[in-house]
């Protein structure tokens, strides 16, 4: 994989406030790269400089080898940008909206009808082709936005909070669409507050806070560094004694802490949470041991919400 986005020594200040402070990161071609951080962390400012909307004070950004300072037009050719809040032209139909942006990207008129049809099919709003854009729901507008950023076949998609404000079903649909787009070979850089989406989709993440990059890397690498233990969720039938179950679990090798989850899950089950250090084979041994000790295990799973833990450990709650 080659580096497609390179950010070096990036700085941006608004008055006295340093919005982006010496950020360095690279994104490889074909990656799904997540940018997470609290509000005011500098994610949107970084993205806006990346897509040539904002001039960096210091540092350099290169996209596909082109500098945002020296060749902004070539950078724009490579990227498709979807901001967190964007308007639509309510007096155009869905087809006309995409046709307009296709023309803005200098796609020849003869090619646009076929291209628009393919894009509408990809984002699954082909049936709304002749409807006015402002009659679409928020979820459908977001899908239309995704079609818009793909119209000129960019190498890199830069999406600021693509699932923001969507209902759960629409969020899942956007997530699936992003995966489909990634399979087309696109590099996706997106920011999100929804850590579940980031954990599900991203190959690498960067965590920002107070304008600085506090952690960056592959998710499992970050997790190993910051959250060395694995979080297990174990449910037992309520007939077993809670204290006995906790003691049996705590005594097993690799288990560092056991917590009783009161009031969570099924009423007729005992829910336990345990911190575990070990590989998958050791995890298998643990399950076998619990069953051998006669514990009525009905659920044994690993919580993959570790990004939340990583995030909480990496950040200090600084809001700028």
């Amino acid at each position: 994989m080659s580096t497609i986005v390179e950010i070096q020594g990036l700085n941006k200040q608004f008055g006295r406030r340093k919005a982006v402070d010496d950020v360095n990161l690279t994104v490889e071609s074909g990656e799904i790269f997540g940018l997470v951080g609290p509000n005011g962390a500098g994610k949107t400012t970084t993205m806006r400089m990346l897509v040539t909307l904002l001039k960096p004070d210091k540092g350099e950004i290169r996209v596909g080898g082109y500098s945002v300072r020296k060749a902004p037009r070539d950078v724009r050719r490579q990227i498709g940008f979807m901001p967190d809040f964007f308007g639509v032209y309510g007096d155009l139909t869905v087809y006309e909206y995409l046709d307009f942006f296709g023309a803005c990207y200098t796609i020849p008129a003869a090619q646009r009808p076929g291209l628009i049809k393919d894009l509408l099919d990809l984002v699954d709003i082909g049936s709304r082709r002749d409807d006015m854009v402002d009659t679409l729901s928020r979820g459908l507008k977001q899908r239309l936005g995704l079609a818009r950023v793909l119209i000129h076949d960019p190498n890199v998609l830069v999406l600021d909070e693509p699932a923001s404000g969507l209902d759960p079903r629409a969020r899942v649909e956007i997530r699936e669409l992003l995966l489909e787009v990634a399979h087309l070979g696109k590099t996706i850089i997106f920011s999100s507050h929804i850590l579940a989406d980031v954990a599900e989709l991203c190959t690498r993440v960067a965590i920002m806070e107070g304008g600085r990059l506090v952690a960056a890397g592959a998710l499992d690498e970050l997790t190993r560094q910051m959250v060395p233990h694995r979080l297990l969720r174990i449910s037992l039938l309520k007939e077993v004694d809670a204290a006995h179950a906790q003691a049996v679990l705590a005594a097993r090798p690799g288990v560092s802490a056991v917590r009783l989850q009161e009031g969570l899950g099924h009423a007729d089950r005992l829910s336990l949470e345990a911190d575990f250090i070990g590989e998958d084979a050791a995890l298998h041994d643990l399950l076998q041991a619990l069953l051998a000790q006669g514990l009525p295990v009905v659920q044994f799973s690993e919580d993959t919400q570790n990004l939340e833990e990583v995030f909480m450990r990496a950040t200090r709650g600084i809001v700028s």
Partner: protein, 318 residues
């Protein structure tokens, strides 16, 4: 096999000039026109405008016919009526352009910002020049459509007589140039302000101030010229007369009226004779007709405003 027939005209001549092709391919023009002409609003505006114009013409004609000492069918009365009707329509259209032009374009850039579509445009390959020209062209096209629909009403003046082809052509040219100017003014204000309301108020404030300032300046100049006509030097009188001449060209109303007066009096369309009062070395100054100055001045100002708008739109946020 026979050789295919080829045109004797070289391909370079056959192909439309690059500038026209680029204009036809400007996506902003099509998008703006689609939005503007969709729904009932455009047709309501057009209908209201034509009804008002029709009422104006009927009122003016009725007034002339009533005030005339001869019968309305008398050739001299008809010619007078034709001239007055034509002048009223043209002056009404100048007023329309002055009011509607800035209103059409004051939101050109600011509404994109307010509707959060500006960033989407700026990250495409659409150049600042294309955006500005697209917005300007679509607004001008709509205004020129309004002016064009008034041509049958203007044609009534021809039926009545008293109007020559030169008046039609000069007034048409002035209308087109003024359309460009007032639309460019709104666009210029939109390019450096953040809100449509601010851009609209700024545009009308500039128009009002320039009318007031230039009006007061013209009044003072007339007073000075009268004062100096008896005691002033030749150069000062010449200078004041020339300046007053220039002032008359800054306003479409005064430029049209003064040009028409010289056309009627001296049949002078391009070069007019301005008599100098007082003791001057020369008794007559030959100057271009005010409409020529007006067209030239407004075209230069339009070009400047468009250029500056492009520069404002081009710069990234800091």
């Amino acid at each position: 096999m026979e050789e295919p027939l080829t045109s004797p005209i070289p391909k370079k001549v056959l192909a439309p000039p690059n500038v026209f092709r680029r204009a036809a391919e400007n996506p902003v023009i099509l998008k703006e026109l689609r939005g503007r002409m969709r729904g009932r609003r455009a047709f309501i505006v057009l209908t209201a405008y034509l009804v008002l114009l029709g009422l104006l013409v009927c009122t003016v004609y009725g007034f002339i016919a009533q005030q005339s000492s001869t019968s309305p069918s008398d050739p001299s009365t008809r010619q007078l009526a034709g001239k007055v009707v034509f002048s009223s329509v043209i002056l009404f259209e100048f007023l329309l352009i002055g009011f509607i032009g800035p209103a059409l374009t004051a939101g050109a850039i600011t509404s994109e910002r307010e509707h959060q579509t500006y960033d989407l445009l700026r990250t495409t390959l659409l150049s600042a020049r294309s955006l500005v020209f697209g917005k300007l062209s679509s607004a001008c096209m709509y205004l020129l459509l309004l002016i064009l629909t008034a041509v049958p009403i203007e044609a009534l003046a021809f039926l009545l007589g008293g109007i020559g082809l030169e008046e039609l052509l000069v007034s048409g040219l002035m209308l087109v140039v003024d359309t460009l100017f007032f639309c460019a003014l709104g666009l210029f204000c939109s390019s450096f302000t953040k809100r449509t309301l601010t851009a609209t108020v700024t545009s009308y404030a500039i128009i009002l101030l320039s009318v007031l300032v230039l009006g007061i300046a013209t009044f003072l100049l007339v007073a000075f010229t009268s004062y100096y006509s008896s005691s002033g030097s030749s150069w000062s009188i010449t200078f004041l007369t020339g300046t007053m001449w220039l002032m008359s060209a800054t306003n479409p109303f005064s430029a049209a009226i003064v040009s028409e007066i010289f056309l009627i009096q001296d049949q002078a369309l391009f070069l007019v004779k301005v008599p100098l009062s007082g003791q001057t070395l020369i008794s007559t100054l030959y100057l271009p007709s005010p409409w020529i100055l007006h067209v030239g001045l407004y075209l230069v100002l339009t070009a400047l405003m468009v250029l500056i708008s492009i520069l404002f739109v081009r710069r990234p946020d800091r």
